[in-house]
Amino acid sequence: MTTDADADAAAGDAVSGETYTASVIGGTGFTGGELLRLLSGHPNFEVVQATSRSADNMTVGRSHPNLRGLDLRFSDPDDLESVDVLFSATPHGVSMGQIDAYFEAADTVVDLSADFRLPEADAYDEWYDGHESPEYLERAEYALPELNRENLAGADLIAGGGCNATATILGLKPLVDAGVLDPETDQVVVDVKVGSSEGGAGGGAASSHPERSGVVRPYAPTSHRHEAEIEAYLGLSVSFTVHAVEMVRGASATCHVFPGDPVSKGDLWGAYRDAYADERFMRIVSGGGGVYRYPEPKAVAGTNYGEVGFELDPGNRRVVVFSAIDNMMKGSAGQAVHAANIALDLPEDAGLEFEGLHPVGSP
């Protein structure tokens, strides 16, 4: 009546490798909650600490209803336990002050804030308020595997990318690599649409439900800090504008690219397949039938996938690139776990196998 059970055939289910202890700093936050979810379901991690100042001693499930089954209470970030890997998900400016303490407590540090993303201290003077521990910048590796996989193996300080930067870099990198887009001369407009979870769990008047619902709100008309990452990692200066739209999870970047030389659909398919055909978490979605013809955040909600696609505008030789991610996953916590998997030589998708939902509303 049945065929043989074949453990190997069940991709991603086999447990391989070591188990690592982990802590999450900023455990009440949105990305902290995602980290806790991912790590507690990960075959190779055991979460031993989650910190919070405001919810010290409370159960994790009180902040994150999906984690009610987790038998863990928040503790004080001043009392760090000794762990293999420490994930920090605090607002920018916190980790750069705590980094020594982090490394006292842990062998490997994965930081989701902007504090170690940029390679040069100068850039922190320009885009942020300077840097307290510039000596760590060279040691840090940018977490995005599609960009920096080769340097992640064995890395001990990993800096998670910005969500809007991640969406943009994933969309444009294949064009840069294929030479379709010349970062020196070609013009690129990036028009981003993001959900409300980008703002974190805090939230003031502008992110209250009545004011934030149903908006198409230019919230970073120009000069968004994620431009710095794009510039640093693609060598590309983009015209960047970010809009808040009605969703909680998701970031979608539309990149309007004007290549110097004519380009064909075949060239574009070639460039994107070269870049992503072997990537576990990238999908090329570009035309076709049905309802979902281009990348969109709903199609990747809850998953670590990035979707990219493109269309060609023959009239004025524009390439329009669409890129969609879940900012809580590929744009932050998922990317961090993916990078940690690589750093620790675990299967890339360990803990990240969720394939997403259909239908799904405004996730």
Partner: protein, 62 residues
């Protein structure tokens, strides 16, 4: 997932990839490319030739 005897092989007109089709497809039928998602029309069967199907705008939109 379906056994080999159930499928035909053709070339994706956009990418040149080899793609598998159900054995019972007929000329004129529309199927989608598993590589690009594009809707393809079966132009002939021996050999199997596929072409991009004209897009049905009305399907989708405004």
């Amino acid at each position: 997932m379906t056994s080999d005897t159930d499928t035909l092989v053709a070339e994706d007109p956009i990418t040149g990839d080899e793609i598998e089709l159900p054995a019972d497809v007929e000329v004129g039928e529309i199927i989608d490319s598993p590589v690009t998602g594009t809707e393809l029309e079966v132009i002939s069967l021996d050999p199997v030739v596929l072409e991009e199907a004209p897009e049905l705008e009305e399907d989708w939109g405004e």
